[in-house]
């Protein structure tokens, strides 16, 4: 019942690998790791959720927070490899229309 966070820094992209559960206990740790990199202008932040087996609204809140910062600082937030269960949460709340959940990565200045 924890969350492992590993960030691979590429030239203009940060790949955030998450593994474990995102809830009220682990969300602060995710916030601390994710939010600062969304404030880098032009950066692509790809969050890999393949190994996230549980998430609730606390996790959605963190991603909404990150999305706001990325719009403000002109970076790009992208969530990839969502489990069906996790994806369902985005769909129920309507967030799938707002946050980019595509697995295809497009340029920042498209």
């Amino acid at each position: 019942m924890n969350l492992q966070i590993q960030i691979d820094e590429k030239t203009n992209k940060s790949i955030v690998h998450l593994s474990g559960e995102i809830d009220v206990y682990t969300a602060p740790k995710l916030k601390d790791a994710l939010l600062p990199i969304t404030e880098i202008k032009g950066r692509i932040i790809e969050v890999d959720l393949e190994h996230v087996n549980y998430m609730d609204s606390t996790g959605l809140g963190v991603f909404v927070n990150a999305l706001k910062l990325s719009k403000e600082h002109e970076s790009k937030l992208l969530l990839v490899n969502l489990h069906e269960r996790v994806l369902r949460l985005f769909q129920i709340t309507g967030l799938h229309k707002i946050i980019d959940l595509n697995t295809t990565i497009r340029g920042v200045n498209e």
Partner: protein, 158 residues
Amino acid sequence: MESFDFIEMSFPAKPEYVGVIRLSVSGIANRMGFSYEEIEDLKISISEAVTNVVNHAYSEKENGVVTIGFGVYEERLEIMVADHGGSFNLNEVKAKIGPYDSNESVENLREGGFGLFLINTLMDKVEINNNSGVIVLMTKYLEKLGVELNDDHVSTGQ
């Protein structure tokens, strides 16, 4: 009077226990024969209710407690989540729940307050009592026996 088993557990209202509470509901629901999908729904619902208690019911100085009750019936599981903290403004909470609107600008997106909406979507029946502290009572039926009931309804007990 229909017979049922009642299980009650109390936890410190702290973030680190929410995962333990999820394991509890998972074990009970598994024993009752709920499907994998339904167990996942139950885990999210109970976490949302407990997270509300952890975040809102007690001030930082208080050593708050969250009490969980499981009513194990033949055809349904009733889960009660109760705190003994200050009550919240229910109408205010209800006004804030609901899915995101894709026309909403990103700047105005809510970052929280939709736990109750998720509970309401994932459970068959939800009741909230807000007299002294807050009690959330939620029910999930086995094998869709509760389909004839209104799926999307939050009622307020007084």
